[in-house]
């Protein structure tokens, strides 16, 4: 404690202000020309890398028709199982080879990024919103509301998520919207559990008790005191969930309940390619690399976002 006081005092001395900060001129010198988060991004290598990877993925998804050398659905039985161009028998027209129906792997990866990104990001947004809201309520109100919410999450955790997804997709039929909805309905559980845990400890903090004593309404306490302080947890869980959502989509596609041909997704390519893994490894490997890279990019980005949204870390990195 005393150490912290001393540190803060030194900080003030550096600013050449007296103890009560009655130095008016000093505040202007503190003004930065760049916003804090941008400065932090420049300082953080992983943040930059994450931004670059995710940015590339988004650009690729948008401009897929421009970049892709072939139509991703065009079947060319004459050039089935063509290897990537640097292997024997590879050609420049199919840089990453072709699959069992002679479709260009590179083009399919480029187009597949669209579905994978949309499903991954949207599902996590839906799940994050549901999960955070329920977690905040369960943690803050406790009592029977909290118990009810936690029993529902526990029972969802006990059921295999895949089973629930299969049932819902079976009822509503496979489509992009259904996929997002289905994953939103199953992936909120970790959000709720973590947010509730955080809130339980946060609401005993002095500043939350202080807000109570001031007479701040509950809704304001939840939105202004609790939510910003669980944000870092939410961001970390979200970035990890983007990866699992993309993979879940591939599992559903594998079972034939995900993306329907002629649309492509990375998950669909993975499941299709794994039957030929021993002979034509490139069909499943390249979409797998694209998937891993994107997930890593999101994790890096989330790491940086967590630090950037914490005012205590601004400018320190």
């Amino acid at each position: 404690m005393t150490q912290a006081v001393g540190k803060a005092d030194c900080l003030m001395d550096g600013d050449k202000s007296d103890y009560f900060g009655r130095n008016e001129a000093e505040s202007t010198s503190q003004k930065e020309d760049k916003p804090g988060w941008l400065r932090l991004l420049m300082l953080s290598k992983t943040g930059l890398a994450g931004m670059a990877i995710v940015g590339t993925a988004i650009l690729v998804a948008i401009f897929a028709p421009v970049i892709a050398p072939h139509d991703p659905a065009a079947i060319d039985l004459a050039s089935m199982f063509a290897p990537p161009m640097w292997l024997d028998g590879g050609s420049l027209s199919h840089p990453l080879g072709t699959d069992n129906l002679g479709r260009d792997v590179l083009s399919r990866i480029l187009y597949g990024s669209r579905t994978s990104l949309i499903v991954g990001v949207c599902a996590v947004i839906v799940a994050g919103c549901i999960g955070t809201l329920l977690g905040l309520m369960a943690g803050f109100y406790g009592g029977w509301i909290g118990n009810a919410i936690m029993r529902v999450t526990d029972s969802l955790l006990a059921l295999p998520a895949m089973l629930i997804m299969l049932v819902i997709v079976g009822v509503f039929g496979p489509s992009l919207v259904t996929l997002i909805f289905v994953m939103g309905c199953t992936k909120w559980v970790p959000f709720t559990r973590l947010v509730r845990g955080e809130v339980l400890s946060l609401k005993e903090r002095d500043y939350v008790r202080a807000a109570h004593s001031i007479g701040t309404p509950n809704s304001t306490i939840i939105l202004r005191h609790l939510l910003p302080n669980v944000l870092s947890t939410i961001i970390v869980v979200s970035t990890l969930s983007v990866g699992t959502a993309i993979i879940s989509e591939s599992s559903l596609s594998f079972l034939g309940l995900g993306i329907q041909p002629p649309d492509v997704s990375w998950g669909y390519m993975l499941s299709e390619g794994q039957t030929h893994l021993s002979t034509s490894w490139w069909i499943a490997t390249f979409p797998g690399i694209a998937l891993s890279l994107t997930v890593i990019g999101f994790i890096f980005l989330g790491d940086w976002l967590r630090d950037a949204t914490d005012p205590r870390l601004q400018g320190r990195a």
Binding site: M1, T2, A4, V5, A8, D9, L11, M12, S17, Y19, F20, G21, R22, N23, E24, E26, S27, R205, D206, Y207, R209, A210, A211, H212, S213, I214, G215, T216, P217, T220, R224, H225, P228, N229, D310, P311, R312
Partner: protein, 338 residues
């Protein structure tokens, strides 16, 4: 300061606060176990005065503060604010009522949300009660910052950019914002350096005159209490053992516990410190789960007699405005008797 005719601003009537500590397997044992944090407190606080509450850690003084600020509900008893019971109010009504009694917290590092700027921290009470908005709100925040000695140029800073004393000033500005009648100061200076303590205490005194405030000042430090209080209540194991004006308490303590407390205050004069007699209490403070029978202080009291082990003393008013909870109040402390 307080005359008999005055009506109290705040009145505690037989407040008890027990915490259930029997644990998960309580149904196996016959008797539930309770931690008696407060075990029957009656107290009146008059407008404009500063009432100090002093005692060892664990004696229930902070719990008392929390009960007064309605952060805890008493197990038994009632809190009357301007004659109106606070414990029975509906949550919505109580929230609006909180305007009149505010609290300043012990730890200036944890009582401010690290993600809020000073502007929002001080504006929070004003927004919560819809008192000001827009330009008016900004002006009021600046005004409050000046009142507590913070430069308005710091308005967009975060709490971690301040020292402990400055943070406590932010806490004071927040408590002042609603122009309350009563402020509960819960160990507001204990986390600060001694030199800063004096600044904060002087600031509190200045603000009291300026805004007509009533303070309940909770502390374990006698020097701070002596500096600011008009009347002082000494607590031991959840009860008030002595209540008197500052002058009387320090010059002529009537309860053996108060006498022991006073004898433990460090003296600035080393010569005097060397020759003075210390009263060293034997043993530890008893557990508030198993309070001793009779007078709760008899286990450590150097003057304890048989009666103390059996009968619980009640608060008795002595001739000089002292109130003391002891079967055999001291005639005067040892240093007067020599």
């Amino acid at each position: 300061m307080n005359t008999v005719e005055q009506t109290p601003l705040l009145e505690l009537k037989g407040i008890k606060k027990y915490f259930d500590v029997s644990g998960d397997w309580s149904w196996l044992s016959a008797q539930p176990k309770y931690l008696k944090a407060i075990d029957g407190i009656d107290l009146k606080v008059y407008p404009g005065e500063t009432l100090g509450i002093v005692g060892e850690s664990g004696c229930g003084k902070s719990t008392t503060g929390n009960v007064i600020a309605q952060l805890l509900n008493p197990t038994e008893g009632d809190v009357l604010f301007e004659g109106e019971s606070l414990c029975d109010l509906a949550p919505r009504v109580l929230r609006r009522r909180r305007k009149d009694f505010q609290m300043i917290f012990q730890d200036p590092f944890s009582s401010l949300n690290p993600r809020m700027r000073v502007r929002d921290l001080i504006a929070e009470p004003l927004r919560s009660h819809r008192i000001a908005s827009g330009k008016q709100l900004h002006d009021r925040v600046v005004e409050l910052m000046k009142a507590v000695g913070l430069s308005p140029s710091f308005i967009d800073r975060f709490p971690h950019e301040f020292s402990g004393g400055q943070r406590q000033r932010i806490g004071i500005a927040r408590a002042l914002a609603l122009q309350p009648k009563l402020i509960v100061c819960d160990e507001v200076v204990s986390a600060l350096d001694v030199s800063i303590q004096a600044q904060i205490l002087n600031l509190l005194s200045k603000l009291q005159k300026e805004f007509d405030l009533t303070y309940i000042f909770i502390s374990h430090g006698l020097p701070a209490i002596k500096h600011i209080s008009d009347r002082i209540a000494v607590m031991y194991l959840g009860r008030i053992v002595e209540l008197a004006t500052k002058e009387q308490l320090f010059s002529r303590p009537r309860h053996p516990y108060t006498e022991a407390l006073l004898s433990a205050v460090p003296l600035p004069d080393p010569e005097a410190a060397r020759t003075r007699k210390w009263i060293v209490l034997q043993g530890d403070i008893p557990s508030p789960v198993n309070t001793p029978p009779g007078c709760s202080f008899h286990t450590r009291c150097p003057y304890a007699r048989d009666k103390c082990k059996q009968a619980v003393p009640t608060m008795q008013a002595l001739e000089d405005g002292h109130a003391v909870s002891c079967h055999f109040p001291l005639e005067g402390p040892y240093w007067l008797q020599q």
